[in-house]
Amino acid sequence: MSMGAEHQITAGFMPLFDSAVLVAAGELGFAAREGIDLTLHRETSWANIRDRIAIGHFHLAHMLGPMPLACNLGLTPLASETIVPFSLGLGGNCVTISNAVWDGMAAHGAKPDLDPARAGAALGALIRERAAAGHDPLRFAVVHPHSGHNYELRYWLAACGIDPTREIEIVIVPPPFMADALATGRIDGYCVGEPWNSAAVAAGTGHIVTVKAQIWRNSPEKVIGVRKAWAEQSPEALAALLRALHHSARWCQDPANHGELAAMMAQPGFLGLPPAVLMPILTGHLKLGGGAELDIDDFFLPFDKAANFPWKSHALWFYTQMVRWGHVAHTPENLAIARDCYRPDLYRSALKPLGVALPGANSKVEGALRVATAVGATGAGLMLGPDGFFDGQIFDPDEIDGYIAAQKSARAQA
């Protein structure tokens, strides 16, 4: 506790690896160097984080990317206006299934290569086989209805011809309980961040079948959600924090620091897990189950590829999926709320004094970059992408009506 700090900031986080940039900002002095006394509180549910932001206990928090949208759209019991001036990284999730489901998928051509299309085709064949035999639908778990996990799982299944609302069941399970629920047969599969996928593989009770980084390459995951009223009252404190997070994210990305980062996150006050369990997310080298191992490009990026930039097109894609699965009605008012939630303007103005590379646009056409591409930006050397969806679809944030309509009609035909 430094009494002389210019800004006092209180933040909440969930014990998940992708809180690392926020945790390191506090633990390693990046916040203190910006004149911030940063107090971190570990929470046990996303509902607690939302409640404590709403009543002002926290100024900001580690949040699921779609969560601030859900707050602002009035989808949650207690919520306050929340904005997103910073993203905590790209990727990091996997889809893990039970050994029994893997055996069934393998009989329909699945291979341990994480290819979403091949895995999805095999899963679809297994689901139809089970339905014909009169078995109960497979049950998958995600961490929260308004989460990247839920939306990418559903996107993957739907693109493979599986209706996630009718052909499987989706339930909510807290991340640390996923592997146990799989082992005891209460669920057949799940989509969650690391280390909870590798945990099931290590226990011999699950197989990783695909990863977020292959369903939608370099796609958004956790963000910093900020209580809007506080952001407006304390613009200097927020800007200072965004600079601290930027330096922290750069440190977290550097492979030279990965050992130290894993050791820090392993501590009882953060994740309370052995450091070795935390290395796969950093190296992108995953054990898939059954002895298979794979190196995954861009598995989790805390900094590179403009990972911290809060693209409005990311928020708008989440919005289209909320509409797609009936979480919210598509109206001009709701679209405007979704468009205003992520705030690249705040990110840009806070980081401008640092002279670092910044994207010039607030939105991009998602799925347009097939290879890593240098983009026109202030400063030098900003690489983006590739950002493709595995099914080759494109999301143009200027063509939202068309995107929503196309997904709706694809489902009607299924």
């Binding site: 046990t44 996303w46 509902a47 607690n48 409640d51 009543i55 929260h144 209805p145 909510i172 807290p174």
Partner: protein
């Protein structure tokens, strides 16, 4: 005593705290109180109990799962929202501070639910106070034990009386600006490293 036909479901992994709340609700005249410690199979139980009010501790990691279930229950016309009146900021803050949250079937009148929430908040606070006092008593006992052992080591190794041994510990603690129990613990640890202490 107020007679109430409201069905109250208390979800709390802490059995002692749950029974304290249950007792409070029954004393206040609520007869339809159900307590659940383990959320496995809770969907079926909620369907059976049809609770009007659900009280849950904030430390419960299953809140997200439960909220999702409540949202889905809209399909069967049982919408449940947290608290009756979102504008009652003071009540909401008091509840979160106490570590409790509540979900109430939409449409219930504020005056019917408020006493239940107030009861839950005050019992949660009372439980925290009790737990804190218990913890303090336990650590007090632990300190006393370690100080006794440190005194014993000093009496034996330096031939001091019990009173002189205690005075030495206290002076050292004051000089180093540390607690006596910390000094005693260091001494016990050091003695353990330097050789087996007889008469353990």
């Amino acid at each position: 005593m107020v007679r109430s036909s409201l069905a109250v479901l208390v979800i709390d992994e802490n059995r002692i705290r749950a029974s304290i709340i249950e007792a409070g609700l029954r004393e206040a005249g609520h007869e339809r109180v159900t307590v659940i410690h383990d959320v496995t199979g809770i969907a079926r139980q909620i369907a059976e109990i049809e609770p009007d009010v659900i009280v849950i501790d904030l430390e419960n990691p299953n809140r997200d799962m439960l909220e999702n279930m409540f949202q889905l229950s809209r399909a069967v016309k049982r919408p449940i929202a947290m608290f009756v009146d979102r504008s009652d900021q003071a009540s909401i803050e008091a509840a979160v501070d106490a570590g409790v949250s509540a979900y109430v079937v939409d449409g219930l009148r504020q005056e019917r639910v408020k006493p239940i929430l107030d009861m839950a908040v005050s019992r949660f606070n009372a439980f925290s106070r009790m737990a804190r006092e218990l913890e303090e008593a336990r650590s007090e006992l632990e300190s006393r034990k370690v100080i006794d052992r440190a005194k014993g080591i000093l009496m034996k190794s330096r031939g001091l009386s019990e009173e002189a041994a205690y005075t030495l510990l206290r002076k050292t603690a004051m000089n180093q600006n540390r607690k006596i129990s910390d000094i005693a613990q260091s001494l016990v640890t050091a003695a353990g490293l330097l050789g087996p202490v007889e008469d353990e």
